[in-house]
């Protein structure tokens, strides 16, 4: 188990050595908007009749701790099956975490029920990955976007709500006159705008964006990313941005956490994570991303990891990454490295990250 007392302390009073300009000074030292500690989610695997008694489970999220501050964008990046989306769903209680605490806006989310939970979802909204599946085809976009207001009985009279919807449509770059159209009349990028407008309808404090652009083409992706950026500046919403695309996360995030097999292996502000990744997995991940620059691509050295990620049903002992790590040592298969602060604001879960590097551990990108 990582020593999270230091982690929690450090994350609550972060010192951004070279990142002071980026965050509003009044924010620093503020209480985090969302505080996640030791979050665990296990899904039981139905065992066959021959294996009765042997309870097995998928360790989807395995002791994850992080904070999100008001008005910041926190990126959560990792390969498919690493538990990014499960984390996001646990925060909003779309699924119930197995253990761990989630504190949102000073209130413990993990045991909320009924009205309280409804209140939580007023301030925390979700943008889903698939813009085709997340909009009810039988509702007009006016109904879709105003539904949160109906549910929470907000936004005044019907006419006022419709006015708000029109404004929201304008804000997300859609024609307000299309308010009575159905989702099938819109393209993928436009549908994602509708999903975003719906998420913003109640002016939430935090929006969980679960792969909001991965289903979109590059040119449309850039439109949606810019829109999210603009809306954040206008409304001051915090984002938890879940994605597998490292360059998209880099573009939008203030701080980034890299997940592998249900655990966070590195967490830092975007600049130091992308400039000096410390965990061998982050290094391999960053070097595997193809860069749209042939000369750079030819000249740079790349770490190509062997094999596939292990199964989360039966995760490896010690460091979860040791089975694929190019610099794994004996200790790695025995002891689980804790997520420790190697530089102010930069956390890494590797035995051999600074200040104890071993020979060959500093793979230069």
């Amino acid at each position: 188990m990582p020593d999270t007392s230091t982690v929690a302390e450090a994350t609550q009073t972060p010192v951004y050595a070279d990142d002071v300009s980026e965050l509003d000074p009044s924010q620093r030292g503020n209480d985090p908007l969302l505080h996640v500690e030791h979050l665990v989610k296990e899904f039981p695997v139905s065992s066959s009749i021959f294996r009765r008694g042997k309870k097995r489970s998928v360790h989807a999220v395995n002791d994850v701790s992080f904070d999100i501050y008001p008005e910041e964008t926190f990126g959560l990046v990792g390969e498919s099956g690493c538990g990014k989306s499960t984390t996001g769903r646990c925060l909003m209680r779309l699924i119930n975490p197995t253990s761990g605490t989630v504190v949102f806006n000073g209130e413990d989310v993990s045991n909320m029920k009924g009205k309280q939970l409804k209140g939580l979802r007023h301030d925390m909204q979700y943008v889903f990955q698939d813009p085709y599946a997340s909009l009810n085809p039988r509702m007009t976009i006016g109904e879709l976007i105003s539904e949160p207001m109906y549910i929470h009985n907000e936004g005044g009279t019907n006419e006022e709500r419709i006015d708000t919807v029109r404004q929201l449509l304008k804000v997300v770059g859609l024609n307000p006159e299309h308010i009575n159209r159905y989702p099938h009349e819109f393209s993928g990028g436009q549908r994602q705008r509708i999903g975003i407008a719906r998420a913003f309808a109640l002016h939430p404090k935090l929006i969980i964006c679960d792969e909001p652009v991965s289903a979109l083409d590059v040119s449309i992706q850039a439109q949606v990313l810019n829109l999210l950026d603009e809306l954040q500046q206008e409304f001051g919403t915090a984002y938890l941005f879940i994605a597998h695309d490292l360059s998209v996360v880099q573009h939008i995030s203030d701080r980034v956490a890299v997940m592998y097999l249900g655990s966070i292996c590195e967490m830092s502000d975007w600049r130091s994570l992308y400039a000096e990744p410390c965990h061998p997995y982050s290094q391999a991940l960053l070097s595997a991303v193809p860069v749209a620059d042939p000369d750079l691509q030819r000249s740079r050295e790349r770490i190509i990891l062997a094999g596939d990620p292990p199964s989360p049903i039966d995760p490896p002992s010690g460091c979860l990454f040791h089975t694929r790590c190019p610099i794994a040592q004996e200790i790695c298969s025995k002891e689980k490295p804790e997520l420790r602060e190697i530089e102010p604001g930069h956390f890494c879960a590797c035995h051999f990250a600074k200040p104890f590097p071993i020979e060959g551990s500093s793979i230069k990108l």
Partner: protein
């Protein structure tokens, strides 16, 4: 059911197909020399339209390129731009009808693939030209063992016995980096991970040592670390076998990694074609610029805002009048909105379908800031050939023969030449 069996023979997938022994009497095309003046593969002004109830879908609208052994062509574009359909047309995998070839030709070693009979095509498919599909989860048959599936092309094209084919399949599997290949060939696709299935697909495609390997988004369904493995494998195999690769992808990073030549497609049209360096450092089409500005740059100092392309791609049934990119192009003029641009070719074969592609003043300052065309760095000497203005779309023409400037203007200062260009 074969599913439950651990040991014993799987059902022979080829037992009753007419395919076995199809090679009899037809010689291998790839053994024949390439006729003089021809390339390994020449796609010449190919037009393939789908005739549907809603209208004519112009899926492939004038695609031209050439490919030689050892080369890699990257085809990039957004979904629905006709990348895959072009490849499927070459392979003869489009149902006709609704598809119909409306013009152009595809020459493989000087022989037209479009004029071949279905029986001849069957000897080409998998043997001379092989394809890797996007989704390794659905491209493998779940009820046959992986080894039988990899061995299938060998049995069809090479007349291998069942046992020899499986033995060779094991060798191929270990060649593409799957450990314990002897046991793995006896497994079913569901026992493989996504990356391993894609490796198995590559092994299958390479089984008959094809001349051309067409890879249709081979890494899109995979994670980045697995993607890097697959790309490295394809490059290694190409070095070993000397085959040509056509890499279809929407990821500019992937083509920067692997491609020698790049074709950028938009709405069924190749809007720009050139070497990788041409496309990335010297792009001359506004759509290529837009694509480059849309992808986040890998920077560690200051984040620059993205400049997306406005609007959505047009429907292929109702293409806009004039240049199909004109409704989204920030630099579109009346000329663009009314006239379909010709193919403007530079001496080195770099071509663009933009009225203003050869105008250095237009390109300078409008191309992405980090490209050389932004600063107008490359001298643009136009080839000395009469203006072979193509008959709209259908004319047989090779890239290189279509020039925008007539002989009198050629070799003039580029500014002068381009001024004419703009007024055309």
């Amino acid at each position: 059911m074969a599913f439950g069996k651990k040991k014993g023979e799987a059902k022979d997938p080829l037992a009753n197909t007419p395919l076995s022994g199809i090679l009899d009497g037809i010689t291998d095309l790839k053994e024949q020399p390439i006729p003089e003046g021809h390339h390994l593969l020449e796609v010449d002004d190919l037009h393939m339209f789908f005739h549907t109830k809603d209208g004519v879908v112009k899926a492939v609208n004038g695609v031209s390129y050439t490919l030689d052994r050892g080369e890699t062509l990257g085809v990039v574009g957004e979904s629905g731009s006709g990348k895959s359909v072009t490849a499927m047309t070459i392979m003869g995998l489009i149902d006709m009808p609704p598809g119909k070839i409306e013009g152009g030709d595809v020459l493989y070693r000087g022989k037209s693939l479009l004029k071949m009979s279905e029986r001849e095509m069957q000897t080409v498919r998998g043997n001379d030209i092989a394809m890797i599909f996007q989704d390794p989860m659905t491209a493998l048959n779940p009820v046959y063992r992986v080894g039988d599936q990899i061995g299938e092309p060998l049995r069809i094209h090479r007349g291998y016995s069942k046992k020899d084919a499986v033995d060779r399949a094991a060798e191929l599997l270990s060649m593409v980096g799957i450990p314990n290949a002897e046991q793995r060939v006896r497994e079913y696709p569901h026992e493989f991970s996504g990356g391993m299935r894609q490796r198995a697909m590559i092994a299958m495609a390479l089984a008959c040592d094809p001349d051309i390997l067409i890879a249709d988004e081979p890494t899109t369904a995979l994670d980045v670390t697995i993607q890097a493995q697959i790309i490295e494998l394809m490059q290694k195999m190409q070095e070993q076998n000397g085959n040509a690769i056509i890499m279809i992808t929407h990821d500019l990073g992937v083509v920067a990694d692997i491609a020698d030549k790049i074709m950028v497609m938009y709405a069924g049209n190749p809007v720009e074609f050139g070497t990788a360096d041409d496309i990335f450092y010297n792009p001359i089409h506004p759509y290529t610029w837009g694509l480059m500005r849309s992808i986040p740059e890998q920077v560690t100092d200051e984040k620059k805002p993205l400049t997306p392309i406005k609007g959505n791609p047009p429907s292929l049934v109702t293409l806009p009048k004039g240049c199909s990119f004109s409704p989204r192009c920030p630099y579109a003029t009346d000329l663009c909105r009314n006239e379909v641009p010709k193919t403007y070719t530079l001496p080195d074969g770099h071509y663009s379908k933009c009225h203003y592609a050869l105008d250095p003043d237009f390109v300078k300052g409008r191309a992405p800031e980090n490209s050389r065309s932004y600063s107008g760095g490359t001298p643009r000497v136009v080839i000395d050939e009469p203006a072979g203005a193509p008959v709209a779309g259908m004319a047989k023409s090779e890239p290189g023969t279509v020039t925008a400037v007539d002989g009198a203007l050629a070799q003039k200062a580029p500014e002068a030449a381009s001024a004419e260009e703009g007024e055309e």
